[in-house]
Amino acid sequence: MKLRTLTLGLLSASALAFAAHAESITIATVNNGDMVRMQKLTDDFTKANPDIQLNWVTLEENVLRERVTTDIATKGGQYDVMTIGTYEVPIWAKQSWLLPLDKLGADYDVKDIIPAIAGGLSVDGKLYAAPFYGESSFVMYRKDLMEKAGLKMPDAPTWDFIKQAADKMTDRANGVNGVCLRGKAGWGENMAFLTAMSNSFGARWFDENWKPQFDQPEWKKTLQFYVDLMKADGPEGASSNGFNENLALFQQGKCGMWIDATVAASFVSDPKNSTVADKVGYALAPDNGLGKRGNWLWAWSLAIPAGTKKADAAEKFVSWATSKHYAELVASKEGWANVPPGTRSSLYANPEYQKAAPFAKMTLESINAADPTHPTVKPVPYVGVQFVAIPEFQGLGTTVGQLFSAALAGQSSVDDALKQAQDAATATMTEGGYIK
C-alpha cells in the first residue's frame, strides 16, 4: 500500500514538474480556417520570442465555450489565451474574468480597430479582447438568376424586394430555391439571424424594464414574414439548416439568395469548392426603412483570462496575432484574400486587399451598419445586435430558437411559438431577478 501511494505521489509530482517547465502559453481556439492558418504561421512569433512556447487546444465551438467557462469560473488557469466572441466579452469583463488589454505595444494602433467592433469588445472604455476576425451578415445572391428574373439587386435592398426576388427566382422543378436562411435551433444559429432580422422590423427582445416583447406586433411581423418567405421560397427541411448546410446548398447552386455571415463570401467565391463562384453578388442586409438593418456583428477575439500566471507572454501573443504585421505576414505567404477580415480599417483602405477581395467594400459597410450599443429602433437595456449580452441568453436564446424552428417546420403556429417564447422569456427574466 505504502509503495503504491509513493509511486502515485512520485508520478503526479513528475507530471506537475513537466507542466511547470518552460514559459509556455496555452491558447484555446475553434477550428475555423483563419485560426488554422494562424497556427501554421506561429514560427514568425516564436522566432521573435524564443522564450515563449505555444500550445494549441482546438475544440468544437460549444465544447470550447463550456470548457473555457468552467475554467474561467473556477479560475482553473488552464488557458492563457482564449478565443471568445462578442457575446462573452462584455459579460465576462463585468465579472472581472478577463484582463484589460492595455499593453499591446506602441505600434499596435488600437485606433485602427473598426469602431463598431472595438465597441463590442470594450467595457467602460477599456478593451478586454482583441478582434482576430470580425464579421457582419449580408445578402449573397446569384447575379445570373437575378438577371433571369428581370430584377436588379440594389446595394441596400428592402425586405419587400427580397420577397419579390425570391418569389421570382424560385424554380423548384430545377432545384432552385429563391432564398436560403438559417432554421436550425440555437442562440448562435437561427436566433442570430432572427434577432438581427427583428431589429430591422422594429422589434426588440426586452423593453427598458427587461419585460420580454414577444407579445408585440413587431415580433409577430418578423416571424410571420420569415415563415411565409421560407415556406414559399426556402429549401426543403430548412428547419435543420445552419451555416454549413446553407453554404453547401449555395455552393451547389441551389439558392438564389443567402443572407448570412460576411465570412461566407470567401467560401462561395472560391472556385475550388463553389460551382457558382463567378456568379455571386453582394448587397447589404435588408431593412424596412426604420433606420436599422437586419445584419449582425460578431468578432472572434483573443482574450486573456484573469486566472493566468503568464499575462505578459499572453498579451505579447495577442498583440502579434491581431496586429497589422500579422495581416502583412498572411498576405505575403497566402495572398491578401486570406487575411482575416473585419478588424482593422487600414485593411479596407489597402488597394491590394480591395482588388483581391471583391466583397471587401460590402463587408466593411455591413460591419459599420451594425451598432451593438444601440442595436434596435426602440431603446433597450442591453448590448448586442444578434444576441442579448446577459448570461441567461444562451439558454433562453436556444429555447426560443427551438420554438421558432418548430414554427418554421410547421409543427406550431407563429402565434403559438410567440406566446410560448413570451412565457419562457418572462419565466427566465423573473427567475434571474431582472423583473421585480
Partner: protein
C-alpha cells in the same frame, strides 16, 4: 423433414444476425466511407460510393499530430484498466467469497454511481483536480477513468468469481495457502478468461470515454477524443475531415477488438451455461 426445417431456421437466424450486425456496424462503416470523400461530397446527402480521395487524411495529419493523442489514449486506457483491476479484484473477491447480508446493497450502491449524469459532478471534480494540480495530467485522468469504470469492473469480476466453486479455495486453504497465495495462485488463474474480458472491455470503455477526457485535459494529457473534437468547425465544411479523424481514432481499438474477439466473447459468456 426435420433437418430441412432446422436448416431453414438456421439460414433465417444467420440472416437476421447479419442484418443486426450490419445495422450496428453501419454508422462506423459510413464514417469510414465519408472519410474518403471530398468535403463537397460529404455534405451532399446519402452516398455509399466515395471518390476515394485521401485529402482529408493528409489535412488531418498536417493540422494536428495524431501520434501524441494516440499515445495518451493508450496510456490512459491501459493505465486506468490496471488501476481498476488492482482495486476491483480484491473487492470482487471479498464479496464473492465472503458475502454478508449487505453485499447486494453494496453492489447496487456502486452501480448507482453510474446512474448519475457525469455533468452533475463536473464542478466538484474540476475543483478537486485544480486544487491537487491534476488538471491536464495523465495520472489524474487515469484515476478518473478508473473511478468511473470501477462499478462495471467490480460487477463483472464479481459475476465471474461467483462461478468458481468455493470448495477449490477451501482445498487451497487446507493446504496452507495464505490469503494472497489463494488470490494469486488459485483464484486468478481460474478467473483469467473473466479478468481478460473485463480488461478488454474496460480498455474499450476508457478509450471511448469522451466527457472527462475532453473536460479535464488541455494539451499534455489530451487523448484521441480531443483530437476528434478539434475537427468540427462552426464556419466551413468539415464532415470528411471529422470522419477521417474519427476513423483514425477508432481504428486501433477496432483492430484490437477484432483480434481479441474470441477472448471477449468467451469471457462475456463465461458461466452462462451450467
Amino acid at each position: 423433414m426435420a433437418r430441412a426445417v432446422t436448416t431453414r431456421h438456421k439460414t433465417i437466424a444467420t440472416a437476421a444476425a447479419w442484418i443486426v450486425a450490419l445495422l450496428i456496424f453501419f454508422p462506423i462503416l459510413y464514417t469510414i466511407i465519408t472519410s474518403f470523400k471530398s468535403e463537397q461530397e460529404a455534405i451532399q446527402g446519402f452516398n455509399l460510393i466515395p471518390s476515394g480521395t485521401f485529402e482529408s487524411y493528409s489535412e488531418v495529419q498536417a493540422q494536428s499530430g495524431y501520434f501524441k493523442f494516440f499515445l495518451n489514449s493508450v496510456l490512459l486506457s491501459v493505465g486506468s484498466t490496471i488501476l481498476a483491476l488492482l482495486v476491483a479484484i480484491p473487492a470482487a473477491w471479498s464479496m464473492a467469497f465472503s458475502p454478508t447480508k449487505r453485499t447486494k446493497d453494496i453492489l447496487m450502491w456502486m452501480l448507482s454511481t453510474k446512474m448519475m449524469p457525469a455533468v452533475a459532478v463536473l464542478f466538484p471534480i474540476y475543483l478537486i483536480f485544480r486544487d491537487t494540480g491534476l488538471l491536464d495530467s495523465r495520472i489524474g485522468l487515469m484515476v478518473m477513468l478508473m473511478l468511473i469504470n470501477l462499478p462495471i469492473v467490480v460487477w463483472m469480476l464479481y459475476t465471474y468469481f461467483r462461478e468458481i466453486p468455493g470448495e477449490i479455495l477451501e482445498a487451497a486453504r487446507m493446504d496452507g495457502a495464505s490469503l494472497w497465495n489463494e488470490i494469486i495462485y488459485v483464484l486468478t488463474p481460474m478467473a483469467v478468461p473473466g479478468i481478460a474480458s473485463t480488461m478488454l472491455l474496460n480498455i474499450i470503455l476508457a478509450w471511448n470515454e469522451a466527457f472527462w477526457t475532453i473536460r479535464l485535459t488541455t494539451t499534455d494529457a489530451a487523448p484521441l477524443t480531443a483530437f476528434i473534437s478539434s475537427f468540427s468547425s462552426p464556419q466551413g465544411l468539415f464532415w470528411a475531415k471529422l470522419s477521417a479523424a474519427s476513423t483514425l481514432a477508432i481504428a486501433p481499438i477496432l483492430i484490437m477488438g477484432w483480434f481479441s474477439q474470441k477472448q471477449l466473447v468467451r469471457g462475456l459468456t463465461f458461466g452462462a451455461v451450467k
